[in-house]
């Protein structure tokens, strides 16, 4: 199974590829400009230094693909925010930016949080966040300082998480990624 891992200049983008490899799939790390030529079974896009909505232009190629993708897609951090913007949600600077360890409440375990406890400690690094979820999306998890920590589309395999499941300090992070990869195998 080929998993496109989109490189956006984030600190943990390369780690996503490592985790995908550890889960037995084949990661293909690529720039957003290479997406139109790539073939893949599903896509994970990570974080990056860009700010949304201001830097949308710099992410336009990824946005183009996210708007049309039929394969399962997981957006992490910046790409979670991009997913929300593309589908009509709103992104703004966080009132309380989160860095390091934060407790997150799982609201809906399907599909990403399947088999996880109701409360997990995750690792964060964001200045902006999704403030209004797009229509057709469902809230999956929240923290005290950031409501939309995770969301999924109600009918399409589109997922977004604000925190970083790919870093070791996120509890059950590997399980979350593995749950996502399961949707790719369906």
């Amino acid at each position: 199974m080929d998993v496109a891992v989109v490189y956006l200049g984030g600190q943990y983008n390369h780690l996503i590829a490592r985790r995908v490899r550890e889960l037995g799939a084949n990661p293909v790390l690529l720039d957003q400009s290479a997406l139109s030529r790539a073939s893949y079974d599903c896509m994970i896009a990570g974080g990056g230094p860009h700010r949304l909505p201001g830097d949308l232009e710099a992410l336009s190629m990824l946005a183009y693909h996210v708007a049309r993708i039929s394969a399962p897609f997981l957006g992490i951090c910046l790409s979670h925010q991009l997913l929300a913007l593309v589908y009509g949600g709103r992104v703004a600077a966080s009132l309380t930016p989160e860095y390091g360890g934060v407790d997150v409440e799982v609201i809906e375990p399907d599909d990403l949080f399947e088999g996880l406890p109701g409360r997990i400690r995750v690792w964060e690094s964001h200045n902006d966040e999704v403030v209004d979820m797009p229509k057709g999306f469902q809230l999956l998890a929240s923290s005290r300082t950031c409501r939309i920590q995770a969301m999924k589309h109600r009918s399409k395999p589109l997922y977004g998480v604000q925190f970083h499941p790919e870093v070791r300090h996120t509890q059950h992070g590997l399980r979350i990624l593995s749950n996502f990869l399961k949707t790719c195998r369906r």
Binding site: G9, P49, P97, E98, Y99, S125, R168
Partner: protein
């Protein structure tokens, strides 16, 4: 499965090293004694045999007795020559205080020295222990790692006359440790906590002087001797001038004239350090306060909590201890204040120049592990 991938990774690298260097070529290997550079050199030695010439550059920013400890540890595994360039490094870096300026100057001297050593030996290749986080942090503009050239847009062949070989550049620290074990690198090297390439240079926070460097060296020895079994993945001391100002009264103060490196939302931050002088019994108690750092005056990047202070001396000595596997994210080591007080008293009694001893309570992110 991960083990298989690493074994085949090693085979691929050995093959690639042989293809690149060819039958005649010679490769210089820069070895600091840390797990990354040692493993890269041992891997190259496995591939190329005596055509690899390993050197330990004494930069003057090493810990006490480091050069000879490394040489004797690698006896029988990797022949190593120590070359002393400490005066050149110290002379050029003294007085610099900006973190990136220090790092970039260090990098430039480091490669000039390696270039001279390579020319002397007729080597046209350089083997170095660059790993994935070095490249990610440098390219991401978080901090300039001293061992990243090509990916930072510097052409090594044109600037220094050698082609760089980085057999570990796809790996993280925990993977390098597994590779090291597979290659028979001694446990003492495999398990060693990381020590940055620029060494104590970046643990002397702000302006570099020989006196401050001496304090950092002594404090590092004490912290390393005492904290060995405490469960931290990395633990060390850093030193800066203890000059604090009040920020609206209360228990929070801000360090004047000192900045430290941080990472927030995948971007670099270089900002002030906050000192907390209130009560605490465990570092974890201060987590809520650390999460409010961005809303504090001056937008500080990290917070340290006072363990001990007195009215003599001029330096703050910070104890930094983190728990991490791959060093991309890190949690603070949560430990009883009482234990830290014992350690602080030991530092205070051995280092009269220390005015205040503090414990860093900031995870990565928003701080980085090192201060600069």
């Amino acid at each position: 499965m991960a083990g298989d991938w690493l074994a085949s990774y090693i085979d691929r690298q050995v093959k690639e090293l042989r293809e690149k260097v060819g039958r005649e070529g010679c490769a210089l290997a820069a070895v600091s004694g840390g797990v990354d550079s040692t493993t890269a050199a041992v891997l190259a030695y496995k591939a190329l045999g005596s055509r690899v010439q390993a050197v330990f550059i004494d930069t003057g920013f090493m810990r006490e007795g480091e050069a000879h400890r490394v040489k004797s540890e690698l006896k029988g595994i990797l022949p190593l020559e120590i070359v002393d360039y400490s005066e050149r490094f110290l002379g050029s870096l003294e007085g610099l205080s900006d973190a990136e300026e220090k790092r970039k100057k260090f990098r430039s001297i480091f490669y000039s020295v390696l270039s001279e050593e390579a020319v002397k030996r007729g080597c046209r290749y350089l083997v170095q222990g660059t790993i994935a986080p070095d490249i990610i942090e440098t390219v991401g503009g978080i901090k300039t790692q001293h061992n990243v050239l090509a990916q930072a847009g510097l052409n090594p062949l044109k600037n220094y006359g050698f082609t760089v070989l980085e057999p570990l550049k796809e790996l993280y620290k925990d993977e390098v440790r597994r590779v090291a074990r597979l290659l028979g690198v001694p446990d003492s090297v495999v398990e060693r906590q990381p020590f940055p390439g620029p060494g104590l240079l970046i643990r002397v926070v702000g302006g570099l002087s020989r006196g401050k460097l001496g304090v950092a060296r002594r404090a590092t020895r004490i912290v390393e001797e005492q904290m060995g079994g405490w469960g931290a993945s990395q633990y060390f001391a850093a030193v800066w001038i203890d000059d604090v100002a009040n920020v609206g009264g209360g228990e929070l103060l801000i360090y004047r004239g000192v900045r430290a490196t941080g990472v927030r939302g995948d971007a670099r931050r270089y900002g002030p350090i906050v000192l907390y002088r209130g009560g605490w019994s465990r570092p974890r108690d201060l987590e809520g306060m650390v999460s409010r750092l961005p809303s504090m005056p001056g937008d500080p990047v990290r917070m340290v909590a006072e363990i001990y202070s007195r009215n003599s001396g001029k330096y703050a000595v910070a104890i930094r201890a983190v728990v991490t596997e791959d060093f991309m994210t890190a949690d603070i080591l949560d430990v009883d204040r009482q234990r830290l007080e014992h350690l602080a008293l030991k530092i205070a009694s051995e280092i009269p120049e220390a005015r205040r001893i503090v414990y860093d309570v900031t995870p990565k992110p928003p701080a980085t592990i090192e201060y600069e």
